[in-house]
Amino acid sequence: MKINKKIGNVASIIHASIIFIFLYLPIIVVVAFSFNKSKINIVFTGFTFEWYGKILKNTRLIDALENTVIVAIVSTLLAVIIGTLAAVGMNKYRFKGKKVVDALLYIPVVIPEIIFGIALLALFSTAKLKLGLGSLIVAHTTFCIPFVVFTVRARLVGIDPHIEEAAMDLGAKRIRTFFEVLLPSIMPGVVSGALLSMTISMDDVIISFFTTGPQSTTLPIQIYSMVKSGISPDVNALSTIILIVTIVVVILSQSRMLRNIKKK
């Protein structure tokens, strides 16, 4: 019996290690080749930082990076404002058509992104809206809103509605109550909704593919076309930088959580 358990433990450790290797293997390859002297990702011919310097000269890559960041920030801001208001309203009030709004929130999450992409493309082109940063921002805001609503709503469930009433009984105006009482208590939900929106927006391929114009390529779309035709090593370098930034952000945002656990 005991031996059985030991074998089971060893097996599950091996299994977990294989999954982690599986998850990280392609990332390790990209990072390793970003330091490779050879132009082709086949043989490792020597160590170099050359490609990191080349990133700055690759204007298409830099433009794409800029577009990606602009779209992510603006659509996250819009989604956070609309989504937070919606979560608060839907939590507090009953109104006609609430079920419809609820259903509309689930649709972008559940249906395959490609359908959403072609639907927006059809709408934009019929409305004669020029495809570019504007259409990208509108599209990204749309698929980010549900995630903000869901995360904020989850946070609202645990909040005592009497606190708000108490603030208003003490003479605080509705707007002041919102900003000084309700908002601080749902802030963790708002922040995680915003982080989620940012990452989904920055990684989106499918919906951007249909709603972007020739002058407004985002990084994933640029990489998509490069991967098909043959990628240059500076993309490996840029990916490595993005990876490091991501890891730092994740660690910073989670470090407080980890520290709290450590104390326990």
């Binding site: 999954i19 998850l23 392609p26 208001l85 249906i111 395959p112 359908i115 019929t126 391929v205 980890l258």
Partner: protein
């Protein structure tokens, strides 16, 4: 009157923006796709507002059946592999200390926060004929000539599993975490064998996670055209690629719309089955 209006103001300010936005950018575009699927395509690729069933009639075609069949097959296999990989893994993580759990979940999430195309590109470098894996196998004299791994159905499935695995791990992990471990102890004390308590307690209680994960893996797989593009190299045509082609290369929007409607119906059926089995829609948003 003023009092009543005042009461309505907070309701309108919170609900109006989202309602307006979702009707304009979710409801109307999707209804438009439905309308588009019944319209006529002009020879120059433009759309004529004349009703027709022709687009749907065109769908009754063995070539399209084949593509839908392959897509369903890839989605089913991808989902099955994800379940088999994630289930024991989620249990393993859930057994660790609080700190270990958080660390390991972070390790699962980090790759998922980095650009998915770059990671797929990494796989391309590994699997290519002159790629890392073939080089290693050749040097070890395990093979004499490179194996063709890229641009095949297994490569596409690998890419799908890779991209979507976190969507399976997260909901299963959440359900394992929620499982009341004292139930297992009780079963053990009452003399249940471990297999018995697994089949009768653990599996049924964690199945909501498996169901939610399956929906979150199965449905996106149908539409992820970039995975089949990059790792299938055009040899593997899936519904997503087919729809994309109608909107780009073939410029046949009405046919593309009809193909999309079929995909929407398939999706809604799957979600319906999921909710009938007791699944909650809210669980589908957690992982993303």
């Amino acid at each position: 009157m003023k009092g009543r209006l005042n009461k309505k103001v907070p309701l309108y300010t919170t609900i109006f923006p989202v309602t307006f936005w979702l009707i304009l950018l979710v409801a109307i575009p999707l209804i438009y796709v439905l309308v588009l699927s019944f319209l006529t395509r002009l020879p120059n690729g433009r759309v004529d507002f004349v009703f027709t069933m022709a687009n749907y009639k065109k769908l009754i075609n063995p070539d399209y059946f084949h593509i839908y069949g392959i897509s369903l097959f890839v989605s089913a296999v991808t989902t099955a592999i994800c379940i088999v990989l994630s289930y024991p893994f989620a249990w393993f993580i859930a057994q660790g200390s609080e700190r270990k759990k958080t660390l390991m979940m972070l390790l699962v999430i980090i790759p998922f926060w980095t650009n998915s195309l770059i990671r797929l590109y990494g796989w391309k470098t590994i699997l290519g004929n002159e790629g890392v894996l073939n080089k290693v196998l050749l040097t070890l004299h395990l093979i004499n000539e490179p194996i063709q791994m890229l641009y095949s159905l297994p490569a596409v499935i690998l890419g799908m599993v890779y991209t979507l695995l976190p969507f399976m791990i997260l909901p299963i992990y959440a359900s394992v975490e929620k499982l009341d471990k004292t139930l297992l102890e009780a079963a053990n004390d009452l003399g249940a064998k471990s297999i018995q308590s697994f089949l009768q307690i653990s599996l049924p209680l964690t199945s909501p996670g498996i169901f939610a994960g399956s929906i979150m893996v199965f449905i996106p797989t149908l539409g992820y055209f970039f995975v089949s593009d990059l790792l299938g190299g055009g040899n593997t045509m899936m519904v997503g690629n087919l729809i994309k082609n109608q909107f780009y290369t073939a410029q046949n929007w009405p046919l593309g719309a009809a193909l999309s409607i079929v995909l929407i119906i398939m999706t809604l059926l799957l979600v319906r089955i999921y909710t009938l089995m007791g699944g909650k829609l809210d669980d589908l948003g957690v992982a993303k």
